[in-house]
Symmetry: C2
Subunit: 310 residues, 2 copies
């Protein structure tokens, strides 16, 4: 069992290869070629935290991956990162643990950002120029950087509940901190990255043609978009099963505004692209699927130098 | 993150402390003081194998545990153990990974044996002298050794489908290989340890007063006991939720022979012992609960020398 710490993981991670691998993983997931475990979750209240465990095996692969990621929201008070965890790479031929990638949650952060960029590319209007980022945490930063690069967006707008953090992120990105209604009006593509448990974006803020990638609703009780937005949108989901259970789409389905059968999985959209009309509102609801973990861990695993080599 | 390999794990494992801890864990589980994850499972067909992922946090503990265990049944053809895996000890205050105990499945094997011994002690008739072991694998050996020690049983009978392996295990244990009906007639306590998917013990083999600990049915489709045996038995289960889903009890409940409400959890029995009548047939149906993993991993974690000390 090889133990790989973060510097070596990041050195072995080819971001472009991982982006392509995650995209291929979504296609294979939606084609029914990926076995995933039930999502394991433990919740903590004092101090508040979450632990998620997800595993996936892609048909034909000689390895599979089980990922553990924790988020303890008050760690910053101790000067610690809120994210921790690892990804285990396991032989699908013997069950031996080949490697523990002690990524401290960073591979999860990156594969989440990659999913956002893949979804953004699939739903953005041609000629989009302005990106609106909702939130000012690690996902806000990663999404802004990756989407701006992948889609060539030049202008970045930022809104966050904490105005100081929004200003700081906007400055870092060479963008502008704005009000949320203003962001929704001006952005060609909106990306929401908060852990909100009540809607931030209201139906009144959203104009025809809006394209929204929503990343926050990764467990039950979380919600960033008013359900009425989804009621008049075309909805892309990473996993129909997960999104109906705990994504943005779930709120709209439970409210009777959306038929679950109308949800289109991202992997299906990638395999059979749809020509959205310019005034279609399109929402991509991403809850995080284990196939993303499997794909990024495999890219790292294959990129590692043989053990012991410099 | 400390990585601990098997020799150090076994040196740090105080078996008596672990037995007491697992017993206490069952009580706390049945008292509703343990949060467990959904059981994660991946199945493999070529070559055949299973991966189980289970996690638990015991209320008030400053650590929690996530366990991964694999079984690849043809590994022996390559000269490898069929079992592999690890247990991760994680801070419940920061989410940091404190240790990965690379136990290769051996802590799972041991905590399973401990559960068998705890259940055996709780249901055995006073004055029991003869132990009957069904199966000849690692659990058969561990159960025989631990139960014989804990209960002071002097005579061991062994039956397995493979007669040569039964003879070998009987010789190793100073016991006797016998036919299965003979074993059921003579043994005061019967322990079943096979991965059977169809009943081995039939209702006709079981006499009044029989005490049976059944360990094999740890995932859907597995069954060692004819359901009619449970129909006339008092039934102890490690986890009502799991046993109804995939234990021996599940077959009997689905067949309408047993009311799920009549199942008594082991932790409840330990907290409030029952005086069984001498002619009661009692079956303990053990599917394996994450609290066992948490307890044995905690004993190892506390028993480790400070990192770097000899």
């Amino acid at each position: 069992m090889r133990v790989v710490e973060l510097p070596e993981i990041l050195a072995a991670l080819d971001e472009d290869a991982a982006l392509a691998a995650v995209e291929a993983g979504f296609r294979r997931y939606s084609a029914g070629e990926v076995e995933v475990t039930a999502v394991g979750h433990l919740g903590f209240t004092d101090p508040p935290g979450d632990c998620h465990v997800k595993g996936a095996h892609i048909a034909g692969d000689d390895v599979f991956v089980v990922k553990l990621a924790t988020s303890f929201y008050r760690n910053s008070e101790r000067g610690l990162s809120s994210s921790n965890g690892f990804m285990a790479v396991i032989s699908a031929e013997t069950g031996e643990i080949l490697a523990v990638l002690h990524d401290k949650g960073q591979l999860t952060d990156r594969r989440t950002a990659m999913a956002g960029a893949i979804a953004a590319r699939a739903i953005a209007r041609p000629g989009s120029a302005t990106l609106g980022i909702v939130g000012a945490g690690i996902q806000a930063r990663l999404q802004a950087q990756l989407i701006a690069r992948v889609l060539g967006l030049r202008t970045v707008l930022v809104w966050a509940r904490n105005g100081d953090r929004a200003e700081a992120l906007a400055a870092e990105l060479g963008g502008q901190a704005v009000g949320l209604p203003d962001l929704c009006t001006r952005a060609d593509l909106i990306v929401t990255t908060t852990p909100a448990t009540a809607p931030l974006l209201t139906d009144a803020m959203i104009r025809p043609g809006a394209r929204i990638v929503a990343l926050g609703a990764d467990s039950p009780g979380k919600q960033e978009l008013e359900a009425a937005i989804l009621g008049r949108a075309r909805i892309i989901v990473d996993s129909r099963a997960q999104s109906v259970d705990h994504g943005e789409a779930g709120w709209a389905v439970r409210a009777g505004l959306v038929d679950a059968a109308a949800l289109v999985e991202l992997g299906t959209l990638l395999a059979s692209p749809v020509a959205f009309r310019p005034d279609d509102i399109v929402v991509a609801d991403l809850t995080g699927v284990a196939v993303q973990d499997a794909e990024i861990a495999k890219v790292v695993w294959r990129g590692l130098r043989p053990d012991g080599e410099a």
